[in-house]
């Protein structure tokens, strides 16, 4: 239908433009018009965030565009969310993530960016915030049945706690249960390998790709 097509194109455009108000209004309209929500997500919003990813990778979009589009995507999904609670199929789920800035560190900008991008790309994200005690990560991951634990650190001093968390998982016999991704300014691929993490993302988009790769192999419905 021509009008549905136009609506879907508008959703894509809203995400690309980072126009949150428009994205929310379009999501609400989709609900009001009782559109097929799978189609709304797959052909409306997701192409938008995919295009944003491309623009970022081509060097046309920088972080402010990336993050505002991701926030826009999240806002639209939040509008659609209640309708999914009733729906039998999981339309937009790539896995569960527990994320936080590690104990001793209260810097959370990078972590917020990754959380936002993960969520915009279909992950169920539990953001524990900053200065998160090591045990809290594990409790939350166990409690939610998370697939991935993402650890951020900005300080060279606190990144050492990333190692401790992995040790703690081992001590509790839980290391195999969760994939652990690390990130943050002082963190490197080598550090991730040294401490036995499952992966390192140098930026938010790399983190998303990694999470998709390492997460459960559930495809979008």
């Amino acid at each position: 239908m021509e009008s549905t097509y136009r609506l879907l194109a508008a959703m894509t455009a809203a995400v690309i433009e980072g126009d949150r108000a428009a994205a929310e209004a379009l999501a609400a309209k989709a609900l009001a018009d009782a559109l097929d929500l799978h189609e709304v997500i797959e052909k409306g919003f997701i192409p938008g965030i995919q295009k944003v990813g491309e623009l970022w990778e081509n060097g046309e979009y920088f972080l402010p565009e990336l993050i505002s589009s991701a926030e826009c995507m999240k806002a639209a999904m939040a509008v659609l969310q209640p309708a999914f609670a009733a729906a039998p199929a999981e339309a937009f789920r790539r896995g569960k993530v527990v994320i936080g800035t590690i104990e001793g560190d209260i810097h959370d900008v990078g972590k917020n960016l990754v959380a936002s991008m993960l969520s915009a790309n279909g992950f169920d994200v539990l953001d524990l915030g900053a200065d998160v005690k090591l045990a809290r990560f594990i409790e939350a991951a166990e409690g939610t049945g998370a697939d991935l634990i993402c650890l951020s650190a900005l300080l060279t001093t606190t990144m050492l706690n990333q190692r401790r968390l992995i040790e703690m998982l081992k001590d509790r016999g839980l290391r195999g249960r969760f994939k652990v991704l690390v990130g943050g300014a002082p963190v490197s691929r080598k550090w991730a390998a040294d401490i036995g993490a499952d992966g390192y993302g140098e930026n938010a988009l790399a983190a998303v790709k990694l999470a998709v790769e390492l997460g459960p192999k559930r495809r979008l419905a």
Binding site: I106, H107, L113, D131, T156, T157, A185, A204
Partner: protein
């Protein structure tokens, strides 16, 4: 004789300085600051400031800020290990020191970054001792062969033994203060002596925006009470953790530093404080924090100007680079930063040796940067009137051969007026080829080998060394470890 002009650079007009301060004060009064540390919140509460024990939000009024500024000393004095050489931090004095707390070192042989070892920390301290333009040392590397829990005190332990210069350091844990204080007091021969002649500066970094963590606020309180100067290292990232405009970031920077300064003065009135920082013009393409960005340097120069207006000693992370090897970028960013910092009259300039977004030290770069700092000193030395008249008489006896090489006047002044770099290449092409076509980094490495092959001089005497070792061992034992890497001295 005409007085020599001290070359200076300022970026802000006076009304702009006052506007930024005014907004910062309003920000602290209306929005307030997040203070995670209970003791610091109690200090604020006792001073009559509204504090919220749930949100940890503290509002600071103008009067308390003005009163705290009033109480803060105009200058800070540091003394070398022997307690003899005095360094004034204040006015337009400039002191360079190595950029601190790198988690990696650039290995010259492999040209790759690797985790630093205790041996690297010793080498860095010894090289710093040899760098005449680095007035202070800093705990510039985090040795990876030392248990993480004692990494802060251990850096100080090594620095104090292998370098006699005052030291810029900081805490990684609240419990680190005691052993570190004990080491400093041991060098001085007592807590009162240390208060009288400070040997170290402790860096404390608020978390942008407007947060003082438990550890950093505790560091301010403990240092204030011990008479150890605190260096406030606000570090907003434009558009990420602070407003994207340079002026907007300056408002936040000043507010964060003022909040820290108030904590220091509430802990002990008259506590020495340095108005510093490590902000960066955040790169929106890469999500990185370039210290070599010109905007970063502009923010540094501007907040330092504001610090001076507030009659405070100043500090900045300048004269460093984001390059990964000692290439043109390393030189140009470091050179620009050191020169601009010197022109801005920033009192403590931390950065020498540092690259890769404050994460990596290069010992070769440290030596190159020492030379850059020498050039900066020469620049701010200015152009002096040496003679009266300046030159007229020199031409009187000048024969037809018209040269100045043989004049006593030339011999008298050439070494004073001109500096002679050790590492910059000033050879003819043929001479350069003849000496192996070396790059500056290679020449720096050769010099490094030469310096390190000489016997360490100016080490601590053995009684003090034993005392420092005992403090370090106790700290290690308190933290469940007995094994420390051996140091290359008895």
């Amino acid at each position: 004789m005409i007085r020599t002009l001290r070359p200076k650079a300022e970026l802000l007009s006076r009304p702009f300085v006052e506007k930024i301060i005014d907004e910062a004060v309003l920000l602290l009064g209306r929005h307030g600051v997040f203070v995670e540390n209970a003791e610091a919140r109690t200090l604020f509460k006792e001073a009559g400031m509204p504090t919220d024990e749930t949100s940890f939000k503290v509002l600071i009024n103008r009067k308390l800020i003005e009163d705290s500024l009033e109480a803060t000393p105009l200058t800070v004095r540091l003394y070398d290990r022997a307690g003899e050489k005095e360094y004034v931090i204040g006015h337009d004095e400039v002191h360079f020191d190595p950029g601190s707390a790198a988690v990696k070192i650039l290995d010259h042989a492999t040209q790759q970054e690797r985790p630093p070892l205790t041996a690297d920390l010793v080498r860095l301290a010894r090289l710093t001792e040899s760098c005449e333009n680095l007035h202070f040392q800093s705990t510039a590397l985090i040795a990876s062969d030392v248990p993480e829990i004692i990494a802060d005190s251990y850096r100080l332990f090594v620095g104090l033994q292998f370098c006699s210069k005052p030291i810029v350091t900081g805490l990684f844990r609240t419990a680190g203060f005691r052993p570190m204080f004990e080491m400093l007091a041991a060098v001085r021969g007592g807590a009162e002596e240390l208060r009288r002649k400070p040997l170290a500066v402790f860096d404390a970094c608020p978390s942008p925006p407007l947060k003082w963590s438990h550890l950093t606020a505790q560091s301010l309180i403990d240092c204030a009470r011990a008479g150890i100067p605190s260096e406030l290292i606000s570090m907003g990232l434009t558009g990420a953790t602070s407003p994207v405009t340079l002026a907007g970031t300056l408002v936040q920077h000043v507010a964060e530093n003022l909040a820290g300064l108030v904590i220091c003065q509430l802990a002990r009135r008259g506590a020495p404080v340095i108005f510093g920082g490590s902000p960066a013009g955040f790169d929106m393409r890469k999500g990185t924090t370039p210290m070599g960005a010109i905007e970063t340097m502009m923010i540094d120069m501007a907040y330092a100007q504001i610090g001076k207006y507030l009659k405070l000693p100043t500090h900045a992370y300048m004269g460093l680079s984001d390059a990964k090897i000692n290439d043109s970028q390393a030189g140009l960013e470091t050179g620009m930063g050191a020169i601009l910092a010197a022109l801005a009259g920033i009192n403590v300039v931390s950065g020498a040796g540092m690259m890769d977004f404050e994460s990596t030290q290069s010992l070769e770069k440290l030596l190159i940067d020492n030379e850059i700092c020498g050039m900066a000193y020469r620049l701010i030395g200015g152009i002096a009137q040496r003679d009266e008249p300046l030159a007229l008489r020199l031409f009187e006896g000048l024969g037809p051969e018209s040269q100045f090489l043989t004049l006593p006047h030339t011999r008298k002044w050439y070494r004073v007026e001109h500096m002679f770099p050790e590492l910059a290449d000033r050879d003819t092409y043929e001479a350069w080829v003849g000496q192996g076509r070396t790059s500056m980094a290679e020449r720096a490495h050769n010099r490094l080998e030469r310096i390190l092959s000489e016997t360490s001089s100016n080490l601590v005497e053995s009684a003090l060394q034993k005392e420092l070792q005992a403090i370090m061992r106790n700290d290690a034992r308190d933290n469940g470890t007995d094994v420390l890497p051996g140091l290359p001295i008895g």
